[in-house]
Point group: C2
Chain length 202, copies 2
């Protein structure tokens, strides 16, 4: 076990991923992370600054891997949703980290990688719509929001409901893919208010 800064950094990142995913930022304990990584607590501060920055490093790494492993596919949104589902099933940590991030992170500080990634997705969606590959009854943001939401439907479900007939994985996956497919089906769906913004009312 020779000295290796990179290796230590990586082990720390890995242990932190487990800890943060399970307990969140406020619930995570740096001592536990250091112990799980088989090194001293001081290493965290030497390599990552502090607890918050360690979380950022962990989350950024997970996001990068995630974006890399699940490439966006505007023309085939049902397929994309299915691949998102698979990824969430195989790596539940990523979604948990994202949820902690959304809940615990103070407003404002967004990950640039995510912002630009979303921007690219929206542009591709708009392009696909102009080409007629995708229907136009939803705007790109609406489309993306619905797809992401449906993909995580099973993963972000309340545990009380999860007990009831969770079905097997294949069936759950099919539900996700099928739902997105139905969302894209042609045909007006009753009255549709203007897309452009209007005065708000209850």
């Amino acid at each position: 076990m020779a000295r290796d800064a990179d290796r230590t950094r990586k082990r720390l990142l890995e242990a932190a991923g487990v800890e943060f995913s399970a307990l969140g930022i406020a619930g995570a304990r740096v001592d536990r992370i250091a112990e799980a990584a088989g090194c001293n607590k001081a290493m965290i501060y030497a390599y990552f600054g502090n607890k918050d920055q360690l979380f950022d490093a962990v989350f950024s790494a997970h996001v990068a891997t995630f974006l890399d492993e699940v490439p966006f596919d505007a023309p085939d949104l049902p397929g994309y949703a299915g691949r998102l589902f698979d990824r969430y099933e195989d790596h539940p940590d990523t979604l948990r980290l994202a949820t902690w991030y959304r809940l615990e992170r103070p407003r404002g500080a967004s990950l640039q990688a995510v912002v630009s990634s979303n921007q690219g997705k929206l542009e591709k969606l708009e392009h696909a719509q102009r080409e007629g590959v995708l229907p136009g009854h939803y705007t790109p943001v609406e489309l993306l929001t619905l797809v992401l939401s449906i993909s995580t439907a099973w993963a972000s479900m309340t545990p009380e409901l999860g007990v009831n007939a969770p079905a097997d994985r294949d069936r759950r996956r099919h539900t996700v893919v099928d739902a997105v497919r139905r969302l894209l089906a042609d045909g007006e769906s009753a009255s549709a208010p203007p897309v452009t913004l209007s005065g708000a009312s209850s």
Copy 2:
């Protein structure tokens, strides 16, 4: 300001709701809750036992109000989704508390009120399907999961995506209602695997 146990309990519950909703269980501070409620920290332990039980009390109260204010309507799922959306928009705290609950309480202790409520919903869905009011291409659990997921689509969206064209509230509401409506549209959507469970595969 006479002494009033019920009033104190209520103020504690309210202050705790704000604190827990914002910081979660691990992030919440009992001193802060007591101070916000204008009473002593010891009252929390006298009335609720401990921090965790205080959270349970807060969450149960929120859930009870929620279930009361948004009655289930199996024959009109799009309308139900719309009302869920409204509730989440008007009271973001409830969803945040539910998310904290899901993340920070991994053990099996489920809220009986939620379990039985879900049971009732599933039965109503099944009944509506047998009556032909609802299509049968999704099982009751699948239906409920999708509806709940879509209703919270905007509320549980990543902040990075939220920046991009969040649209006005009416439009967002319409998107939710419309999406559920499309899910219920008749017609087979390509190949459908059996509903009954089969051997798992990747």
